[in-house]
Amino acid sequence: MPKITFVSPEGGRTTVEASDGDSVMQTALANGVEGIVAECGGAMMCATCHCYVDEDWLARTGTASDEERSMLDFAASEVRPESRLSCQITVTGDLDGLTVHLPDAQI
């Protein structure tokens, strides 16, 4: 199973196993990773599962779609080119080792 590492704003690293087909957001919730709120449950109706994709991985995850970018405009923390809604990143074998950084605040 692919492994995903979440890095907290303080720098703490949590590595968890993900299931193919789950989103990065679902992976965080299922493993009790703090810092992902996911208020709307992945319906792209909020911006509370914001993450920053580690630059080494951005080519593989891709950047935010236009609709995703519209929601990110309302994120609680700074939006950067590597900002994504983690509910919109689907885990595949290709993302084994993915590292994402969590923002200071989601709400």
Binding site: D22, Q26, L29, A30, N31, G32, E39, C40, G41, G42, A43, M44, M45, E67, S70, M71, D73, F74
Partner: protein
């Protein structure tokens, strides 16, 4: 650690959020969350959408079991509360256990309405409210040839969209003259009617079903309309709206009208009891009218407001209502409440989709969008600012909500 105990009745969106928000707001007393359904609290919106396709129940959980342990939230699933004793401050479960509270939160939600239609007991006549319903619906959908949906609201139309994707013939029968009439304006109803018809779904508006037809073996074979017309079908979804679960409250002597009455702090007529979400009606901060909303947003924002009050930070509830519905590749989003609108501007942006802006007395009231997330979020930001938005000012920006929200 405080010795206070908050008991939450109902393990849906509002009940779960209540428990989570109490902890995130620093509440250190006991929290007991009592849910009628078995298992961990879960997300309901995907039941009429993604779950019907992927059937993956584990993905629906808000949080894993460990979350409840880590946050010291006592979760009591599979348990119905049958009575509240406000004088002794305890609730009694159906199995006779008494659970004491210092503060009680009623998050009992709503249940599906059973419309006045004969033969609702027939086999293959289904409803959609909880995970068990959705699992049943999903299992039977693959064997269906023609599904009849009674009720053209959000749930009915979301289900119709999924059923059409399964390649099943779909007929929707709606008593009102247009789709989703209770929640959206005429322009949006029309837009979605065209969308569903374009995907092969038959929509019968202004028609009432009087009875379900028995195939002779106790299984549904179709419906008969009030005008005598027969429509054949081998599966029926009843999606005729919901009614609030307020009996527990009324039997305890709390004030109840359309749902449990609460004030602007979400307090019931007993100050030791709050109510939230689908089961309560509250004063709309914009119009002052009492409203009862059936939405994830209301349930979770109510919960956060109650959590802040119970941790010493009370403020009148003032969140902007928002709603969404995913039907095929079309995402309907609504910000604000549109009732009382006296003027409407409908735009079809070049990027596609639809933006409908509703005004009352020259001021922005609500915005309905289809596949236009940026306009929706701009509307939410404008409505949340608390500053009135004049129609004339928006007109000066060609009704471009994104531009206007950036400019102010």
């Amino acid at each position: 650690m405080s010795s206070e105990r908050v008991v939450i009745v109902g393990g849906g969106h509002g009940g779960f959020q209540m428990a989570a928000s109490l902890r995130s707001e620093g509440f250190s007393g006991g929290i007991t969350l009592i849910g009628e359904e078995p298992g961990l609290p879960y997300q309901r919106p995907p039941l009429s959408k993604a779950f019907l396709k992927d059937g993956d129940a584990a993905r629906l959980h808000f949080r894993p079991q460990a979350f409840f342990e880590t946050n010291n939230i006592e979760l009591i699933p599979g348990t119905r509360v049958s009575r509240i004793d406000p004088a002794r401050k305890h609730v009694t479960t159906a199995t006779g256990d008494a659970i004491g509270y210092d503060h009680l939160v009623l998050a009992t939600g709503s249940r599906n309405v059973r419309p006045p239609v004969a033969n609702l007991h027939l086999d293959n006549v289904l409803t959609l409210r909880n995970l068990a319903d959705a699992a049943d619906l999903r299992a039977r959908l693959s064997g269906a040839r023609h599904v009849l949906v009674i009720g053209g609201g959000f749930i009915g139309m979301e289900f119709a969209a999924v059923a059409a994707d399964f390649g099943v013939a779909v007929t929707v029968i709606e008593g009102a003259g247009r789709l989703m009439a209770r929640t959206v304006s005429g322009a949006v109803s029309k837009h979605f009617l065209a969308l569903h018809e374009g995907r092969g779904t038959t929509v019968r508006l202004g028609r009432f079903v009087s009875e379900l037809i028995d195939d002779g073996t106790g299984r549904v074979a179709g419906v008969r309309l009030a005008d005598g017309t027969r429509i054949d079908g081998d599966m029926v979804l009843i999606a005729a709206g919901v009614t609030p679960n307020s009996e527990l409250a009324s039997e305890a002597g709390l004030a109840v009208s359309d749902g449990i009455d609460v004030d602007e702090f979400l307090r019931t007529s007993d100050p030791a009891i709050s109510a939230l979400g689908d089961c309560c009606n509250f004063p709309d901060p914009v119009s002052g009218n009492r409203v009862r909303l059936e939405s994830v947003q209301a349930a979770t924002d109510h919960a956060r407001a109650i959590a802040r009050r119970l941790t010493g930070k009370p403020a009148p509830y003032a969140a902007v209502p928002w709603f969404w519905s995913d039907q095929s590749h079309f995402k309907l989003q609504i910000a604000g409440l549109g009732s009382g609108a006296d003027e409407q501007v409908a735009l079809e942006p070049e990027s596609g989709g639809l933006v409908v802006i509703n005004f009352a007395s020259g001021r922005l009231l609500s915005v309905e969008t289809v596949n236009s997330a940026s306009a929706h979020m701009s509307a939410r930001r404008l409505l949340a600012s608390g500053r009135p938005v004049a129609q004339a000012d928006l007109a000066a920006h060609n009704y471009n909500l994104v531009d206007y929200a950036r400019a102010v």
